[in-house]
Every structure is written in structure tokens, then in C-alpha cells.
Amino acid sequence: MADFGGDDIETFRAEAKAWLEANFPPSLKGRGTMMYAEGVAPTGGDYRAWKTAMAEKGWGVATWPRAYGGGGLTPAQARVLQQEMGRIGAFNPIGGMGVMMFGPTLLEYGNEAQKRTHIPPIVAADLQWCQGFSEPGAGSDLASLQTRCEDKGDHWLVNGQKIWTSGAQYADWCFCLVRTDTAKKHEGISFLLIDMKSPGIEVRPIKLISGNSPFCETFFTDVKVPKQNLVGPLGGGWTIAKRLLQHERSGLSGGGGGGGGRGGMFGAPIADLARTYIGLDEEGRLANADLRARITAHEMDSRAFQLTAIRSVVEAKSNQGPSAATSIMKNAGTKIGQDRAELTLEVMGTQGLGWEGDDFKADELAAVRAWLGGKATTIYGGSFEIQNNIISKRILGLPDPLGPSTH
């Protein structure tokens, strides 16, 4: 809180308060996180009105330049806006990949025409973007991607297959990494914008172990793409992709500062659940000593992580530069999340084995899906093993047996 400047920021705060009061429908109060979990935006007049208001104000993308429809706020003002929104249970209805990753990247690497064409619809949340990066043969080793992009004079011709494209079945556009030169690995990759309504694109949803998912396989067969859809220089795609993934990682790790103590960033303590399903003994302790010990160890790990999240934010704000603690966050956090999911299932016993039906409570069924879906967290966004490689090489300075780092 202490890093906001004096009067100007308080004037802005008053402005934000007033505008939110006038424009945020009270019926939507607190609905933000539920919507995120459901993965679908609610319909209804109030929601549409809120989305329109935020889009016109540009506050859905608060720090983007006004020239393209953004809010033009400073980071400090954006934080104040977030605080005031939090106070009244408001949420940002403008989200998705366009906002989180693609938009900021296009603002840095796109040309004027591309920015004027693509940024305003993102600001208005009028359309959706999907990410065409991974391929069946290119996961952790993304740079080995093979989707081919050939120069046909007055257009590009794209052939290949992408996988794990989330939301491709609903997406209007795709930002895609394609191979424009087969002779060079990293320098042969380019960044291309593809209209998902183009002929030759086929989308197949992927069912996961957790059930339905937003992920898809996307097949490109002789897809024609206008020349002007190339972002940045030919062969410059890898650099742009790295920058985009940085935006993705800061978006994903944005759960910092859970406040410590009970019910922190991972939800209510498992011990509460255990009291219900396992019970207490005469001394008021959980009735199974082994489970009690493992739950305690987990809760303590969780607390240690929360304290580290707070510390890394505090240190990043000071003059010390980026905190070393940030490099460990994904592995430490995902492990705790997965441990929590396993313990939850174990505590629920056979009630934690339901797939569907009214023999199981909603949160019991949700626990099973969350446990399954959570296995992906140590795989996507830089796998557990890749993160350890990064820590080893970049932070600890250990040598790379495969040659200079490709990350």
C-alpha cells in the first residue's frame, strides 16, 4: 500500500469509486470467481451491460494505451482500481488469452495496422483468441515445431497440427507459431495471426481424464493466410513467443499474497474437512494419527508457500531487484496444490470416488474432477522438470549438457 503517490492517486480513487458505483450491477457482486471456475460467462442483461461499460471505459485492459481503446492508467492507478473493485465485489469481465497474453505482446511487436485491427476488439471483449503453439511432437521442446508456413507470393499457406489449443472451438482468431525455414531451429519460426473461419481449419475437442475440457486439436490443411498477418520479422517468432510466455507466466502466478494462516490461497484448511469425515478423538485431535501428521505437514508447507509469495512481492517492490524466490513458485505451488487434492480425496474416502450422480455431494464430485485436472499443473506452463532445469541453469549456474540454453 505504501508505494502509491499522494493526492493524485486519491483523486483517482474517488473517481474510480464513483464510476464503479454508477456502473457495476449489484446483482453480479462476488460472481467473478464462480464464473472463472465454470469457464463460461453468464448471460443476462446485467452482465452484458457491465461488459459494455468496462469495454467503453477501457478499464478491462486498464494499463493499455488509450490510442487503442485501453484505459491508459498507470500501474499504481490500476492497483487502486483493483482495490476498489475488490471492495464492492466487482470483477473484470474482460479477460481471456487476448487480454492476458496476446494483447500485451501485439502492443510490443505488432505494426500500426495490426494494432488498430486487433486491439479494439480485445478491449471490447468482442472476440476470442486461441494459442497455436504446442504440437504432438513439440511440447517441452516447443522450438522443434513443424507446422509449415510457405510463402506463396500473395499469401501464406499453412499446413500442420496444433494441440492443447484451449478454446479453439469458440475462438475467432488464433496466434500461431509456424515454421517458415526448415534449415534453422529457432530462427526458422514465425508468428502468424490466423482467422479461425478460414477454410481448411478443423477443430477437435480433447477429452481429458477429468472429463470435458476446453482443449482441442487444431488441424490446418492448405490454409491461406494474408501476408499482412505476419507479426514481427520473418523468423522472429521465437523471440515474440518467449515474451508472450512471460506474460502468460505472470498471469498464472498472480495468486500472490494469500494472507497467510487459515483459508489462504489454496482454500479452507483440509483439517476442517477431516474433522467432518474422520472425526476427533477424546483429546480433540484428528482420529487417525497418520493422516493428522500428513495433513499437518501439508498445511505447514502451504503456509510456508504463502509466506514466500508475500515475501517475493515485497522484495520485488523494493530496490533489491527480482526476488530469487520467484523462480521456485510454480514448482512449490503446484506440488502443494496436488498434495492438497490427494489429501482431500483420501479424507473423503469412498465419497471421494464419485464421477457423477446424487449419491455424491457437489463438492465431493468437484474434488474428484479437481484432483484429476490438477495433474496438468505440473505439466503445462513449463513442466516440473523443465522448471527444475531452469532453476539449475539460470539460478544455480549449473552447466547444460545439451549446449547453450534454448529457453
Binding site: 493428522r292 499437518t296 509466506l307 515475501r311 524466490a325 532453476i391 549456474g397 549449473l398
Partner: protein
Amino acid sequence: MAVLTEEQSLLRDAARTWTQEKSPVSAFRKMRDSNAPLGYDTAAFAEMAQMGWTGVIIPEAYGGSDFGYLGMGMILEETGRTLTASPILATALAAASAIVLGGDENQKQTWLTKIASGEIVATLAVDEGAHHAPAKIALKAEKAGEGYALSGAKTFVLEGMAAGLFVVSARTSGESGATDGVSLFLVPADAKGLSRKALKLADSRGAASLSFERVEVGADALLGEAGKGWELLEKILDRARAGLAAEMLGASAQAFDTTLDYLKTRVQFGQVIGAFQALQHRAAKMFTDLELTRSCVEAALSAIDNDSPDVPELVSLAKAKAGDTLHLISNEMVQMHGGIGMTDAHDAGLYLKRARAAEATFGGQAYHRDRYATLQGY
């Protein structure tokens, strides 16, 4: 590392410089090999007193600097790095806390100045069995005239042979295991009926077992109220635990640094062994654990400085986490050094032995996990 004030940074830098230059691990090894009778270098301790380390948590009125527990933690982290043997933790943190928190003006005048000046070594005498159990007190304190007569035994008393003063937990009423009826006494080491025996420990640090045969002390030896000493004892122990966790963090950090260095220099199969992914990932795990531990230790020390109601659970978190991390890293240090890690000539064995002693002191991981769960209500 927490964001420090300029004063705190200076203190940390000074501590780091002194321990690295004047008290590296070789100094500990020399002390050990010389069979120093008290388990530490008295000249080095005198220097620490001169630098003001013995007065860090003592108010200025008694010759201290009142710098606080985070400051003390930074000093202990640096001494932990080089396995520096000294009575700082026992005296300037644990015993001093007892008198600062529970002493009356007379007791503070009598003892705190002597502690701040480095003139005296003081320590807690609380445990009576092989596992830390502060409520399991059988040592009796019976009324004797105006004062009391103490009878019983204490074990694993840190710096017990060097101490001039003991802070003793005794029972004025109740059964062993009860928290009611605990009383704390300031007992001079030369009190009649008090005898001590040196314990020869694997970590070569000074410790003793004490025997009390109707040791008479005046009413002025009682810290606080008779029979109501449990709360004070817990506060004192939490401060000692937090300081020890800081020392353990330092030992872990140095053990890791030394091991990492070895990974970068040892060549086998035509390359440095640090190129092998399995070792890289184990190193990444240790690094991760160090960062998580640091957060817990700093949070506990800051909570003490802020007198937060979260102190007990944060301290148990810090002690348990520091224990887990030091346990892992001390084992990995030996393992990753291979054969040379097994030699006495190498430092790995010194860190390993110190690790287990520190883990067991003032409650190990199991003790503190159990305490954490109980504090959280399950």
C-alpha cells in the same frame, strides 16, 4: 532475504564479515580438535561481546542495543553458516529473553548488564528426558524459609559447563505433564548442591547434565509468579526456537553452497558432475526448500518483534521447516561429495552432526508439527 532497514543491513554485513574472516569452519574444527573444555573459543566470544552481539535483545538501560529478534536472527544465521560454536544463543537470546520478559527490576539490573557485557554465560535448564517436553517436569521446588529448595535433574543443558547462571524450570505444584504449577528460577552455577557433568556430543558443542540436591535459592530467584510460569516458559522457548531456526537456516545455506560448488568443479566421466540432470534436480529441490525456509524463519522473528499472536504457530512452522531442510541438505552434502564426504577431514560430517543436534534441540520436527496441529485446533 527480507527487505532490511539500513541498520539491519549493516548488522548483517558486519556479522557476515566477522564470521567469514575470524570464525570460518576451520576455527570450529580447531576448537574441536583442541578439546576446548567449554565447547567454544572464549576469545572469540569476547570479540562478539565487544561487537555488541551479546546485547542485541537487551534494552539500552542495561547495556544492550535493543536491536530486536530479527537482528539476532541475522547474527545467528551467519554463525550458523560457519558452524561457529558460541554461547550467544543460550545466553544472549534464550536466558536474556527470560529475564527481559519475566524479570523484576532487581533481576534485570543484576543479570542483564552482565549478559550484555559478555561477562557471564547463561542458559536454560528445561529438559529432563531424551525428547523435548517442557511440561514434563519432575524437578521439585519446595518452600524453604523465604525461598525454595530445588531437587531433581536436568539434561541437555546448552553451554552447561560454561554457564554462570541457569534459568531453571521447576515444579512448585502439580504432576509432571501439567502446565499448572511450573515455576522459573534464576540459579547461579555456584549454588550449593548443584553439580554438573559435561556431555560429550557428536556435534562437539558444549552441553551438560545438571543435578540439584536441595539447592537453596532466595525468593528473589523466582521469575514472575510461583506456579504460573508456563506462559513465560513458552514465550522464552519460542524465542530460543526461532533463533535456532535462523542458525539452522545458515548452516543449511552454507552446506548447500559448498555442495553446489562441488557439483561445478568435480569432474567424472569427462564432465563436471553438475551437468547430470538428476543432481541438478536435487540441487533445485534444496534451493526451493531454502527459500521456503527463509520465509518461515523471517516471519517468525518478525512476529516476535511485533509481539504478534501468531508467534507460537509461526515459530513451530519455522523450527520444523528449518529442521526438514537442514536434515535434507546435510544428508545430500555427504552423498553428493561421494567418498570424500565421508572423511573427517571434509566439512560435510561437521554439518551433518551439527544438523541432528540442532534438530533435536527445543523440539524436533515431529514435536513442532504436533504443536502446529494442536494450535490450529486439530
